[in-house]
Symmetry: C2
Subunit: 295 residues, 2 copies
């Protein structure tokens, strides 16, 4: 049996090597800016999105070295969004992945620029990945830009989230917000992996459906962790959703029913990839990992 | 004689139509975010960078319709940088192009997201420009990402500028800052135009040299306007460089010698394009326009 923990460890270390090669060093001027970028990128993230790129790509036949730069690029976009979301004018958070947030450590101006540069570096990494054809690079950049911008993407989702703050919203509105804020980038990770593997037709449809379930699953477990785990375990401020009066799955359904819902959506995700006539163990493992995660 | 004012008017209106087609409308959710983006993009910029893309591209043989999306993309990157540079933690400015800055009008969080999305939309616009070959799109994205990121680009230059604030710096340091903060994007505009025209060799070298002079010229005239024009004429807060104790060309050389220097650099820019065996009137006109501008 393929061990998902082993796969994730391996991906994390290979993606970190790739990120290290794509990001300016702390000796390059302006040093404080590059130091701030590295502070946030190498804060110990789980690299779930890169794992999705690589798992989907490998299942569909791509080699890992063709997947790594894109995997790293998507992690850079994710990290830029965390840096900006943590800013005082946004979620005003002091703690991320168990460390001071970028603006607490480097100041607000540098944190804003660090996020800006990470976004730039992500597109640069894909554009300059000589292992991929020009067409492939263009398609991935288009997928990633659509998923991380607005209206259909991550930044638009963050605005919707800010607009909803301080009022209890419906569970439908919560789903809409998270489909943009979290789901779009997870779907882009899967779609990029499939694009690099040059997949089409039924496989791509199945992967899209799987990724959409995975995004929802990720959000539901995030909501659960926010109410069941402490700040120390999470590495970020716990209980924030409650204090922000956010409508969450546990607030709506209660903790037990939310746990059952998560298991059901994991099963839906696994069912979604049934049409893919490949060894999809790793994709099933990823869905189970997300449901079982503790931070 | 070709009238530069006419060219600039034409470019402005065509680029604005292109920008309008590339940016989500104020009816798309989240409406406030798209409204904030449009507030800053359509605040009446001179569209100097798009004009450089189009002037260089057309001189070297590209058709205008192949140049417009890239021209608009570079203006989006420029506008994103203005929105972020104006933020309270950066230059803390209330006025831009004669109107309230984005964060004064829409709040800080939305302004940060508006800048973020504009950067995303810029790369998306180039990636999805079906008039250009895949290779051409990839090359332009790489040029633009390098010029707008760090260490070699605009965001890195903004960090250097912030780091220099409050202390008088040498004129060499000022040049270094502005080569990154302003010059890199102006050079990228010229290089993109040349790439779309599929130029190579001596023409590209000449254009690069011209663009480098143009970037310097733009900065020197910006410094001059800051001390010689009022806030009303500039549409942004005048005299900011002096109050921030920045080393500027007028502070170093005095106003009269700085004016002479600007004229000399305009002549250098015009001399730089002498090897281009095409009708380069429009490029000469652009250099003269920059030296003569009043805002």
């Amino acid at each position: 049996m393929y061990l998902i923990a082993e796969f994730l460890d391996q991906v994390r270390s290979e993606v970190d090597v790739t990120l290290d090669s794509l990001i300016p060093t702390e000796n390059d001027e302006p040093k404080n800016l590059h130091s701030a970028i590295r502070w946030s990128v190498f804060a110990g993230g789980k690299r779930v999105r890169p794992a999705i790129v690589i798992a989907v790509g490998e299942v569909l036949g791509a080699t890992r070295k063709r997947l790594l730069a894109t995997a790293a690029a998507i992690e850079m976009v994710h990290t830029y969004s965390l840096i900006h979301d943590d800013l005082p004018s946004m979620d005003n958070d002091d703690l991320r992945r168990g460390k001071a947030t970028c603006h607490r450590k480097y100041g607000e101006a540098t944190a804003i620029l660090a996020g800006d540069v990470l976004q730039t570096l992500a597109f640069k990494a894909i554009a300059e990945d000589g292992r991929l054809s020009y067409e492939c690079r263009v398609r991935i950049i288009s997928i990633l830009a659509t998923a991380s911008g607005s209206p259909a993407g991550m930044a638009g989702g963050q605005q919707l989230d800010l607009d909803a703050e301080g009022r209890i919203t419906t569970i439908e509105e919560v789903e809409l917000i998270h489909r943009h804020k979290t789901g779009a980038l997870i779907s882009a990770a899967a779609a990029s992996g499939a694009t690099i593997a040059d997949s089409s037709g039924r496989d791509v449809e199945a992967i899209n459906e799987y990724a959409s379930k995975l995004g929802l699953l990720f959000q539901i477990t995030d909501d659960l962790l926010d109410v069941t785990q402490g700040t120390k375990e999470l590495g970020k401020t716990a209980g924030k959703d409650i204090s922000a009066l956010k409508a969450t799955y546990p607030a709506h359904f209660g903790i037990e029913r939310t746990r059952e819902l998560a298991v059901k959506i994991r099963d839906d995700a696994i069912a979604a990839i049934a049409p893919v006539e490949k060894n999809t163990e790793i994709l099933k493992g990823l869905a189970s990992f997300i449901v079982d995660r503790t931070n």
